[in-house]
């Protein structure tokens, strides 16, 4: 088909397409030649490496296990643990009364009843004080059998009211899970009462690392610093060096030019972030605690971190470059904005959405995205933190610090959608303001 017979729309689009890629490619090459780009990139990689080293150290170290239910002790010194004596009906306080079997190592009764919670259970009802609530029940989760063997003397003394069904779900030695008012996990007594400290530590520290690194390291720090150094001067630097004349003295609208410049910036930062996230996901996926050789379940968390950070980098980049269009002190304005975002990030982490003012920030919405996906993926988080705090397990505080429940939508998916729309909306509005200002800007 000859040029003259080509439809107008196709011809116009082809030209726009050529120009857009030319500006994007030019912007990318410009970044490539700037020392500041490499400096910020290397600083990011160094920090990531440093934090990863701490993570690896944490994952490869062991902590002292604690016997939370105290049944591994040999009170009477007859060589049998309390648990074994209770199992065979002998008196744990009487050194002359012991089971007629081989004494098992005391360590067998440490960490012997770990958390068994998951949402895969049978539908059931719980009835306390005449109030019925629907939920999911897990059965056969009493790993050490001390709840099942209620005949044990000590247990009879301790269990008290409710017997084997202390959670009133009409199932003995079960775990009742209700999602009616947030996640509520209630096990029967002597179910999940001696968790694996090391497993808990490694799991919670891993999750805390992923969430902390995702929210602070990526979403906030990368989200702020990459745009600060790479986007603020996107138009301003060209104006200052007077080279902008070459680029805009062409048959291309300034608004369009600005959009393509931002496009180059997006491609660069998104590629950088995606590479880093991919590498960290690989490392933590192999090193982190898992039944499999790799933590496949984390992929969606890391994907949400990448997604949130990309949206934030987009929003911050558009805001900072617009500052640059308005004033030569764009960098200063961006730093002030960064301080505001830092305060909002801290408030968001502390209050997990309870401070309304945090909604006036970019970082809040980015963190909401991560929280919504992590809540969905790691649905046992609240239970882990709740049990960890109860037993004072190592790792629970760190996990609690970075764990957040999304406070906007009624479901994680709604939160994800609302937060995404808001971040894109902010970007679009600021872009419109920026390109309008750029169109009216006189280049002296």
């Amino acid at each position: 088909m000859s040029d003259s017979s080509r439809p107008l729309s196709k011809s116009v689009w082809s030209k726009i397409d050529v120009k857009s890629w030319a500006i994007t490619e030019f912007t990318l090459r410009q970044y490539q030649t700037r020392k500041s780009t490499w400096a910020i990139g290397m600083i990011g990689i160094l920090l990531v490496t440093l934090v990863l080293l701490f993570y690896v150290k944490g994952q490869t170290s062991e902590i002292d296990s604690i016997d939370q239910d105290g049944d591994s002790y040999d009170w009477d010194g007859d060589g049998y643990s309390i648990a074994q004596e209770l199992q065979y009906g002998t008196n744990p306080d009487d050194p002359t009364d012991f089971p007629n079997v081989t004494a098992l190592p005391l360590s067998n009764w440490i960490d012997e009843d770990d958390f068994s919670y998951s949402m895969n259970g049978e539908k059931c009802q719980r009835n306390v004080y005449g109030i019925v609530s629907e939920g999911v029940c897990q059965i056969n989760v009493d790993d050490d059998g001390d709840c099942e063997r209620l005949g044990w003397v000590l247990q009879n003394q301790l269990i008290g009211q409710g017997g084997k069904d202390s959670n009133y779900d009409n199932i003995d030695c079960s775990v009742f899970i209700s999602t009616a008012n947030g996640l509520n996990v209630i096990p029967d007594k002597f179910v999940d009462e001696d968790p694996d400290d090391n497993l808990y530590f490694h799991e919670t520290v891993h999750r805390a690392f992923v969430l902390g690194f995702g929210k602070i390291g990526f979403a906030f720090l990368m989200g702020i610093f990459l745009p600060l150094f790479l986007a603020t001067g996107l138009i301003r630097d060209e104006m200052e060096s007077e080279t902008l004349h070459y680029l805009i003295g062409k048959p291309i609208a300034r608004g369009e030019f600005y959009a393509y410049r931002l496009g180059g910036y997006f491609v660069m930062t998104w590629f950088y972030l995606a590479t880093l996230v991919f590498i960290i996901n690989l490392i933590t996926g192999f090193i982190g605690p898992s039944d499999s050789f790799f933590r496949f379940g984390d992929i969606q968390i890391w994907a949400s971190i990448l997604f949130a950070t990309c949206l934030m980098v987009m929003a911050y980049g558009t805001i900072f470059s617009t500052f640059g269009i308005f004033t030569k002190y764009g960098m200063l304005a961006s730093i002030f904005f960064g301080v505001w975002e830092f305060m909002m990030a801290m408030l968001t982490l502390i209050g997990t959405g309870s401070f309304f003012i945090t909604r006036m920030s970019i970082v809040f919405w980015g963190m909401q995205i991560i929280d919504s996906v992590s809540t969905y993926t790691w649905s046992d988080s609240a239970y882990l933190i709740q049990k960890g705090n109860y037993y004072d397990l190592e790792g629970s505080e760190a996990y609690e610090a970075f764990y957040g429940v999304p406070s906007i939508g009624s479901t994680p998916l709604t939160t994800l959608f609302i937060s995404t729309v808001i971040l894109i909306g902010i970007t679009a509005v600021v872009f419109f303001i920026g390109q309008s200002a750029f169109k009216r800007k006189e280049l002296r």
């Binding site: 726009i16 050529v18 410009q30 007077e242 070459y246 062409k250 291309i252």
Partner: protein, 323 residues
């Protein structure tokens, strides 16, 4: 060049849309006047825009290429307002005054990317870049980084990027500034050749002799105002009737002075230095015409002749006297 107090009316009468038209255009920077009520229309040929530093040349160009918005009046490029509509930019090439370039790029890459910004495909853009870089004489060094270019080479690279879309109107802001004599000659040849190709070219300078070597059509700006426009030789003829000085370098200034004092157009002589004679005349052209005969008859050796008043300042001074 067409000029009129009301260029739009003139253009309408001739039914031709000029490449460039300014109608009572003024530009203020706060309280400072950059351009004051300028009206011109240019269509075809090479036009020299003359003016001292701060005369308003760059302001005029920036208004033309849509970098500035006029405070008053209208600017039209091929009949279109360049501030509102960027479409005329596909027909113009602009060489800015400043020296800044993307030093990390080669001239070939630079011109290629500029061509792509006009909407040309990569292959087409590369072809065009090669062509224009050869045209401006940078074919041997087009793959060298711009940062390693001399001043003259950088100016030629800037001209090449302006030519890459085969524009109808080319605007060159002080293209010879800072160039060595060889580079000046090359650039002047390029401009002349472009003029002969039928392009409309506007080139600015504050050095009269430079413009004189390129074109006869001139526009003179002074303090933001349009001082004169027309044929340079006509202006110079008027200037020649004005008191003028000729400086001669010789070992016998006094002997030579006696010969020149006999000339009807010479009304005074001075000796500013030991080997220098300064002649004052009312008719520069006639003295220059008779000078070879006077020197030949005197037998005195002259090693240098200069016209210190044959510059833009003198023209401006002369033109300002009439105001």
């Amino acid at each position: 060049m067409n000029s009129n107090d009301i260029p739009e009316k003139k253009a309408a009468e001739t039914n031709v849309v000029p490449a460039l038209m300014l109608d009572h255009v003024s530009k203020w920077y706060g309280n400072i006047v950059g351009l004051n009520d300028v009206s011109i229309a240019i269509n075809g040929g090479v036009t020299g825009l003359l003016g001292m530093n701060g005369a308003g040349k760059s302001t005029l160009f920036k208004l033309i290429v849509g970098k500035l918005k006029p405070s008053q009046g209208t600017v039209r490029l091929f009949g279109i307002d360049p501030w509102k509509n960027k479409s005329p930019f596909s027909r113009i090439g602009y060489v800015p005054e400043h020296e800044k370039l993307y030093d990390w790029m080669t001239a070939f890459e630079f011109v290629t990317i500029m061509a792509r910004l006009f909407g040309h495909s990569r292959d087409d853009a590369e072809e065009r870049a090669k062509h224009v870089l050869t045209f401006v004489g940078l074919d041997d060094v087009m793959h060298k980084e711009l940062g390693k270019y001399s001043k003259g080479m950088r100016q030629r690279a800037k001209i090449a990027q302006a030519l890459v879309n085969d524009p109808d109107l080319i605007i060159l802001d002080e293209p010879l500034q800072g160039c060595d004599p060889l580079a000046r000659t090359t650039i002047m040849n390029v401009i002349r050749e472009l003029g002969s190709m039928g392009k409309t070219i506007v080139v600015s300078s504050h050095i009269l002799s430079e413009i004189e070597r390129i074109t006869e059509q001139i526009v003179i700006l002074h303090n933001g105002r349009l001082l004169a426009l027309g044929n340079l030789h006509a202006i110079r003829d008027l200037l020649d009737k004005h008191p003028h000085r000729i400086s001669l370098t010789t070992t016998q200034p006094r002997e030579l002075a006696s010969k020149f004092l006999k000339h009807e157009s010479v009304y005074g002589v001075h000796f500013p230095a030991e080997n220098e004679l300064l002649i004052e005349t009312h008719d520069l052209g006639k003295v220059h015409k008779d000078m070879p005969l006077i020197l030949d008859n005197s037998g005195i050796r002259v090693t240098g002749i200069e016209n210190p008043d044959d510059n833009l300042e003198s023209i401006l001074e002369y033109l300002m006297e009439g105001r």
